[in-house]
């Protein structure tokens, strides 16, 4: 299956099942969960359902485009359902059918895999979904987001888009999967993932492992923190502050891949990101769900 087809099918399926179809958020991030549609969506008492594709950047996973399975940037398809419905697992299984996965012919397991994001001050319990021995999705009941207890609890489903496509097509090199096809008067021309992204992988890997300016990224980290705290503390602005948090988090990931974060320094840096994220969560709740006057 083509990558774009997989995304289109999932969008169609989840839109039919009551989700807004969101867009990727235009700031680098390490996981689809960091899109504000999920981070803020999981907070507060109101109902919320959203689905979207999100590129996720993990600088340390870069392999210069040499490794057929690992990449600096991959695609996640995210679904958030708040509150988690009683039939959430069944819905998920139906979504697989929409991808042409007929479970009559497969083996499927939900294996324990709990999720935690120290930078977001978030954790949840759940599973990795294993299809014929392959991990195809992550399934999480959020218990906390931005240090705040989730009430009600949301279910988050994350599909690993490229893996799923490779698996379904039996392809053993990510760059050989087909992203989509261009159709014109000359007919149909398939476009490979490699054509679209291989050079990007090479350059971004080089950048994060060898070329990124360490002191520049350190100052980026500091500046974004300062800016974020200013927006949050002085103005109670949690969206613009949250964007600063995302930029901090990315600067941290680049520093980490660059080998510039010592082990003893790491928890402290993560905590600084988390503090800003928690501040944003609290400001969001205060704004949308102010406590009743005594």
């Amino acid at each position: 299956m083509q990558i774009q087809k997989l995304i289109l099918n999932l969008q169609e399926f989840w839109s039919k099942n009551g989700c807004l179809i969101g867009l990727p958020y235009d700031i680098e991030k390490g996981a689809g969960t960091m899109n504000p549609l999920t981070f803020f969506g999981a907070l507060g008492p109101d109902s919320w359902r959203v689905a979207y594709a999100e590129p996720s950047r993990r600088p340390a996973d870069g392999r210069y485009g040499d490794n057929p399975f690992r990449v600096y940037k991959h695609l996640q398809f995210q679904v958030l359902l708040k509150p988690s419905p009683a039939n959430v697992q069944d819905l998920y299984l139906e979504s697989l059918l929409s991808l042409g996965i007929d479970l009559k012919n497969h083996d499927l397991r939900f294996e324990e895999d709990n999720w935690e994001s120290p930078t977001l001050g978030a954790w949840g319990v759940g599973w990795q979904v294993v299809l014929d021995g392959m991990e195809i999705s992550q399934f999480t009941y959020f218990q906390q987001m931005g240090g705040v207890d989730c009430k009600p609890v949301s279910a988050e489903i994350t599909y690993g888009v490229e893996r799923l496509c490779m698996f379904l097509g039996g392809t053993s090199n990510i760059f050989e999967t087909t992203y989509g096809s261009i159709e014109d008067s000359g007919g149909s021309t398939p476009v490979s993932y490699g054509k679209l992204r291989h050079r990007e992988e090479l350059e971004l890997s080089h950048y994060s492992f060898n070329l990124a300016d360490i002191s520049f990224h350190r100052s980026l980290f500091d500046f974004h923190e300062k800016e974020g705290l200013f927006l949050l503390k002085e103005h109670g602005h949690f969206i613009s502050a949250y964007e600063q948090m995302l930029k901090m988090s990315h600067a941290f990931n680049v520093l980490d891949a660059r080998g510039a974060v010592s082990a003893s320094e790491r928890p402290g840096l993560i905590k600084r990101v988390r503090d800003l994220a928690s501040g944003c969560a609290q400001a969001y709740l205060l704004h949308h769900f102010p406590p009743a006057a005594p």
Binding site: A86, F110, V153, F167
Partner: protein, 692 residues
Amino acid sequence: MPKDFLLEIHCEEIPAKFLAPLHLDLQEKLIHLLEEKGLLDRGANLRSPDWYSPRKLAVFLPGISEMQSDIQSIEVGPSKAICLDAQGQPTDAGTRFADKWKSSFREVVFEEVKGKKGEYAVLRRTVKGLPAVQVLSEALPSLIGSLSVPKAMRWGHSSFVFVRPIRNIVCLLGSIVIPFKVDEVKSSSTTFGHRLSGGEIKLSQPGDYESQLADHQVIASCQERQTRLLKELSAAASSIHGTLMPDETLLREVSEIVEYPSVVLGQFPLEFLNLPQSILICSLREHQKSFCIQSSDGKLLPYFLSVANRDLSVDSKARETITKGNEWVLNARLFDAQFFYREDTKILLEDQRPRLEQLTFIRGAGNYLQKTERLVLLADHFASFFHLDGLESRTAASLSKLDLTTQMVGEFPELQGQVGAEYLRREGTGDAICRAVEEHYAPISADAPLPSTSLGALLAVVDKLDTLVAAFAMGQTPTGSKDPLGLRRAGLGLVRILRHQNIPLAPRDAILQSLSIFSEQFPVKDVNRVEEDLRTFWEERIAFSLSQEGVNVQLVRSVMAAPWHDHLQLIMRCSSLQRAMNQNDFTSLIENAKRINNILVGQAIEPMPSDNLLTASSEIKLLEKTHAIDALMHRNELDTFCLALAELAQPLEDFFNEVMVLDEDLKIRNQRLNLLVKLRSQFSYIADFSKW
């Protein structure tokens, strides 16, 4: 007529490791409840079958009464004087007492009540038994809520917490549904079979549960699944003329994550057999939960066995898809492993050393480069205890942690040590050092194998010792069930290795040595307190290890309370004493040893060279015995010494019967006290019985 009882909690997939304990907890709490409510024959030895699977916790108990029996109850009220006025008429308090128990005052009698003076108002009444269905439907929701769940979660709008969301509940007494609700889920007689192919199951009675589930692709019993699985695995391995590589842990785990096991035989490309075997096995078992197949000469074959969670006996199309899928995934994994292997082996392990600095050891206790420096010093210091060469020991220690920097260990953390050994061997490092690096994390659990070589044992000991010292110095000691650094396991490992290798290492000396090396890098404020805390911790591990071997816990405690040097000595004392106690009754000796201690408390005793005033026959006998024991102590014959102690029992008994220790004549008193002091010190040659 007693009925069968069935409770099934149907959940979203419960993590394998929680299943068995949760099932046991549910079963015990149910039996306790049924007993408490008088619905179970007391003393009946009840056990539910092991019906649990990823989505089900089911308890089946036969012989449950439908009705509670009536209970005769006695209620005691205020005293007669309060209940009756001067004319003998009931007071307000008197009628209130009767009303409270919904009885008439005429039924109240006045009697003497045990433990009280005078007569009191007493009501005898019959409490009618209730139907079991009513009692259980009231009690079960809170019973389910009280199950102990290590990592609990909430879901949806629930305020209820459990291990995973509860989606269905079956509760039957005979053919009757016991009605109740847990977080919006109502109990019924309907459950569900296998997720993909099972469908709905209507149960008419508890006894049908197992067979009905089997018809719907769920094997209820975990043991049954395990038995079937093992049979299928072995058959599949023989089908390609290989044998299954045994793996109890994996077998157990896989039985717990499937509801209906089927074995799938797959292949992987021959080129991956060039990877070190340990890495191959780890990829298969840890990441893919697959079993390995070996040839008759113990070599891995390019096949693997995966376990699918469904019946594949007649479905060849599904089998083919599932096999292909598993092969694809394993291929990807092994490709990754090969990639890491090639990357890692491009440079010498030694050249990775600076990167050890990036790896934190224990919070506040620096990095692995610093730890390695300490290990080298420790290995050098303790080498002689293991009859090892200092240079070789230092080299082994300096290489022991290098593999933590490799991509392979980053990917397969459980291969630490093994990867180092593999890479060092490739680089031409000597076998003894490679093996020591490989096994220095051993033992990895309470009953896992110990290092097999003395160099491996030395590295394992100094590694664990340093970890314990660093953690205790940084105040990161285990509390309750929390032991994130695995210190108890490390301590027990240390104890087992020293014993196995016969190393007479005194805990105090070892701790102080290690602390002094540690404090060169990180100042330790209160060395004495750290030493004391860690020594106590160490002694607890020794006691635990001995009690695991079946030595009486009180015996261990008493032996450890007497002064000792190292735990080889302790073990010898324990086993000698245990042998003596198996043959002789030490009860009266222990009692009298305690008595001696009590008598000696606070007595000012002047040492007295002479015992000429001891004249009673029993004290003379006792005195003679102590002389004989003295001689044995000089010869250090523990077994004979213990038997001599056993023979002290009667003379000691006679002594206390015949004489008064605290005689009015102070000289006699002092000589007797001296005799007791002597005895006490002789006891302490092996144990302090007052701690028994």
